[in-house]
Symmetry: C2
Subunit: 379 residues, 2 copies
């Protein structure tokens, strides 16, 4: 990061290391390619047409998104193959229909009601994935609930509009693994369960079904992506403190920082207060036995190498616009009110959603879906 | 809330009970008035020019805000007396200078560096408050650090541009009180400490200093607002689940709900999944011994009376766009995919910041500073 950028920071600002993000992108893509697995990156992480182009430059032509609005946004940017990786929202069916006419649209279904509603509402074809729960227990039909899955599959296959494409899961249970081996094991277990589902669907006569999976920890750490057809990771593009904490990435792999001005120093507690609170960093925390952590600190360095402070330097509390940063004495002593520090966020996807715009190392502004929110990137 | 509004909900939508908010407003204002204390409500809670007018209709002519951007926004709405209740951000000094020329602007200072910087930069007068820490330990000079406070006061008084107005605190420690009596005690203790500071500043020759305080729990619950000149509460306007949990308000005093479409049902766990996640509700939780709670549930009722479900019905987890809602069996059974439920948010200020627009019971859209972010309120 160049000092000249840091000097221009006025408000909490999302700094993007474009080179690192592109490096992360290529690494994930190459792994998928080398195993002949389709790569459908989750664009909820960056929410930006411009960053979407980086994927297109590498030959990626499909994406996953997490809302109908996001599908609309990317379809305007000429993405023609989008899966809305969220249980289909019946209250936005008019928009789903418009999108289905325009692009190759995929949706997730996990209930007979939703399938029936889709059938009734659609006037063009749509790709339907049955959402499977392989252990996260957030959404989806439990992988071993054969009767429900078969009933829904039959219901879907019964409609001409609904193109039964396959089964899809998000094995987010990997985020709760205690070790990197644990992550690999959960990823592999989830894939085994997905193959079980495909097997009994095939036995029942449903042929050619695809398996789509896609958590960043599992996809990044597992050398062998397994017997799946498509991966949909998103977070790997930027990573974050949570991923580093899980052992998925190194701190230097994290491609986004939030630059925050220092507004107060408190010698007696070795704390600085920054302009940068819950509305900028999100209230997502890493919980350890001793403390809650809302971000790690690095200092804008000369050239492209930021200086990573030890984990004893961290964001310890957030209110609406304030961030409290605990520092080691030597770091505390060199900082002044009016300086800028960089915070490695706990969850990059949430921070991107909150801050809207990116500022690259070379001072370029990159817009996202939420750009209108941010008024500070106007120099 | 009228059923007609609920039927139109398509995405997570902030529903505002205007009558309740105005009632909360009048209650707080009346208390301040009856004790001849100036009322400077904190507008970070609503961030809306239109809602600001509700205050103006009641005779309120001053406000507190939490950022320079927010001061700019309200100054455009012709608010002429604004305190930026956040340590002055030296990196936005140009904007502070423009505002100071235009309106009666107050800023907080807690260090000699900031005071010196202000002195140098300003070309018009500004009201300066010394930020005092009476026990929250977030920002401010500790109330009993007489030498630092006197030194800073001398420094401020030494400048013609800096109008030394008084001392200001946010006794947010009341949020950690275990009982409502505990809240009253902490509020009262904070005020005693503020009066101690004023006393020793007066002894040193600083006359006519005001005391500004302002946490919602203390101001709402304390019959006697104490020996202070100004209160700056904000949250009381809408309240939220956190305030109810603290015993500050009743659930029926909460004036904002987040309406969320149900997208999935899971019988085996008695959970529904709603479209409404961390980017809509914020990741702020109420932590109890048994669980984390991200909101309580009420159902849109006929007429203006929502039906409050017991606290066994609550948001148990949030990811980016998903909310997981635990329900009692009878409530679970009556809900369908495609229905809308109302969530009483944990922290209304954060939710307002995230959702940007309000929808009133009579179907009117109220805009805020962040309106551009929201694209769903367009019917």
């Amino acid at each position: 990061m160049e000092i000249s950028i840091t000097q221009k920071i006025r408000r909490p600002t999302l700094i993007l290391d474009e080179d690192q993000a592109r490096k992360n992108l290529r690494h994930m893509l190459e792994k998928a390619k080398s195993q002949s697995i389709s790569f459908r990156p989750h664009f909820k992480t960056h929410q930006s047409l411009e960053i979407g182009e980086w994927f297109r430059e590498e030959g990626v032509d499909r994406a996953a998104v997490s809302s109908v609005s996001m599908a609309e946004y990317f379809s305007i940017g000429d993405w023609k193959d989008i899966t809305i990786a969220f249980p289909v929202n019946l209250r936005e069916m008019d928009k789903v229909c418009v999108l289905a006419r325009k692009i190759e649209l995929g949706v997730l279904v996990e209930s007979l009601e939703s399938a029936a509603f889709l059938k009734e509402a659609l006037d063009s074809d749509i790709n339907v994935w049955i959402k499977i729960d392989t252990g996260l227990h957030r959404t989806g039909i439990l992988w071993n609930d054969q009767s429900s899955i078969l009933e829904l599959a039959t219901h879907i296959a019964d409609s001409k509009r609904l193109n039964f494409t396959g089964i899809l899961t998000h094995a987010g249970q990997t985020y709760d693994a205690k070790t990197t081996d644990g992550i690999r094991d959960l990823y592999s277990e989830s894939n085994t369960r997905m193959n079980d589902v495909r097997d009994y669907l095939e036995s029942a006569g449903f042929q050619g079904l695809k398996i789509s999976v896609g958590d960043t920890p599992g996809c990044w750490l597992s050398e062998n992506l397994g017997d799946v057809d498509e991966i949909r990771p998103g977070n790997f593009l930027f990573f974050d403190a949570m991923m580093e904490e899980l052992g998925v990435c190194r701190r230097s792999d994290i491609a986004v920082n939030v630059a925050c001005p220092v507004v107060a120093k408190h010698q007696e507690r070795l704390e600085v207060v920054v302009y940068g609170g819950g509305i900028h960093l999100s209230k997502q925390a890493i919980h350890t036995a001793e403390r809650d952590i809302y971000g790690y600190i690095c200092m804008p360095g000369v050239g492209e190498f930021p200086r990573y402070l030890s984990k004893e330097n961290y964001v310890s509390a957030l209110s609406q616009e304030h961030g409290v940063v605990k520092l080691e004495r030597n770091e505390f002593d060199t900082l002044h009110v009016g300086d800028t520090i960089y915070i490695q966020p706990v969850h990059s996807c949430l921070v991107v959603d909150l801050l809207g715009d990116y500022l690259t190392q070379d001072g370029r502004i990159i817009r996202s879906m939420n750009s209108e929110r941010i008024k500070n990137l106007q120099w």
